[in-house]
Amino acid sequence: MNDRDHVSEEELNAYVDNALPADRRGVVEAWLSTHPDDAARVAAWRRQAELLCHRYGHLEYETPPPRFNLDRLARRRFGALAAVAASLAAFLIGAAAGWTVHGMETEKSSDLVRFTNDALVAYRLYTVEVRHPVEVPGDERPHLVQWLSKRVGSPLNPPELDKQGLKLVGGRLLPGPTGPSAFFMYENPAGERFTLYCGRVSDSETALRYTTGGQNAAYYWVDRNLAYVLSGPMETGKLREIAQAAYDQIDRRTAPQG
């Protein structure tokens, strides 16, 4: 057999994908007729493609839900996930395909806005976790607080929200726009989860503010260069009460003594 008749693995793949130059098709087919192992692999790969199309192909014929209405989306400023990754994505998209990124990074957003968006994304990502919602559970509170305070670089003290019916599930360390951020998760008996995200920012102090993202909403504020974002489900109406309680406790703790 000479080299021209040898068929590589890549050519077998290209054969399955119909990406082979015309003059190689015949060679590959002849090869397959005498190499049953490769013929079986090619058949298995085709079967994989069938399974994938069978499993996901129906979406091509489904009418997209109203949330994808382009006129409405065009009026939105931030996507739920996109905001966090905006500058990075702009860079990668430009780098990957050679499109210019000029103008894409001009979107001005303060630390606090980015921080709040990160918090909402973290809320969405982790509150749906059943098995791994937190890294350190709430019953190890002293260890949790000590660890996260050290990493964030400021003494933290997650508020007690028992009066609001919330118990501390635990916490984790997350990357934030300006450095490590602490993420505390609370849960009520109905299984609703609320999270407090906090980290250092350049703003020194702000009042309590409100923002929404998708189905969720958040109250956020800054106290002594620490930003706090309390996120939860938008519709329940409990968020404001919980945020106010957290705000008051933190305010009391950090208020100058005397």
Partner: protein, 162 residues
């Protein structure tokens, strides 16, 4: 509606299909599609003609990569649990292929899905992934071998009913 928007709109069903297979989670997938659309709409001035689909797949692939990077600190999630949630009833064939997708790296999965499900050419995939065609081909070959090994090893021998 502008021609630009019409072309984006026409791509939505395919983007949803790709995102669903890429993430194996209907809700996350639609969130990413939505973000892809928002980003594309905002970036109309950056699109200088060319292949709209490849451009949209590029945005989506990058957004998902960023999402996974955010998740990188998360402990490894058991693939069995995740796929149980997405598996639908008696469709055991579907469940097997969904589980098999979990075995792949993100790059392998993306390459395989773009070629097999979305019918992109190797060159288009190389643009989407920002790597040479040779890299796309080796990702594809590895993906297929991984899936085959998984399906061969895990699936009990089919019993033929006579």
């Amino acid at each position: 509606m502008s021609e630009f928007r019409e072309r984006i709109e026409a791509a939505i069903p395919a983007l949803r299909r790709y995102a669903r297979a890429l993430t194996r989670d209907a809700e996350i997938a639609d969130d990413i599609v939505q973000d892809t659309l928002v980003r594309a709409l905002r970036s109309e001035h950056l699109f200088h003609g060319g292949d709209m689909r490849a451009w949209l797949y590029t945005i989506l692939t990058n957004l998902n990569r960023n999402r996974l990077r955010t998740l990188a600190r998360r402990p490894v999630v058991s693939p069995i649990k995740d796929t149980d949630a997405t598996a639908s009833g008696p469709d055991s064939g579907g469940r097997d292929i969904v589980r098999a997708l979990e075995m792949l790296t993100e790059e392998q999965r993306s390459a395989l899905l773009l070629v097999v499900l979305e019918s992109l050419t190797y060159r288009e995939v190389s643009e989407v992934q920002g790597v040479p065609i040779g890299t796309v081909m080796s990702r594809l070959a590895r993906a297929r071998n991984e899936i085959k090994a998984y399906l061969d090893g895990e699936r009990p021998a089919l019993r033929r009913v006579k």
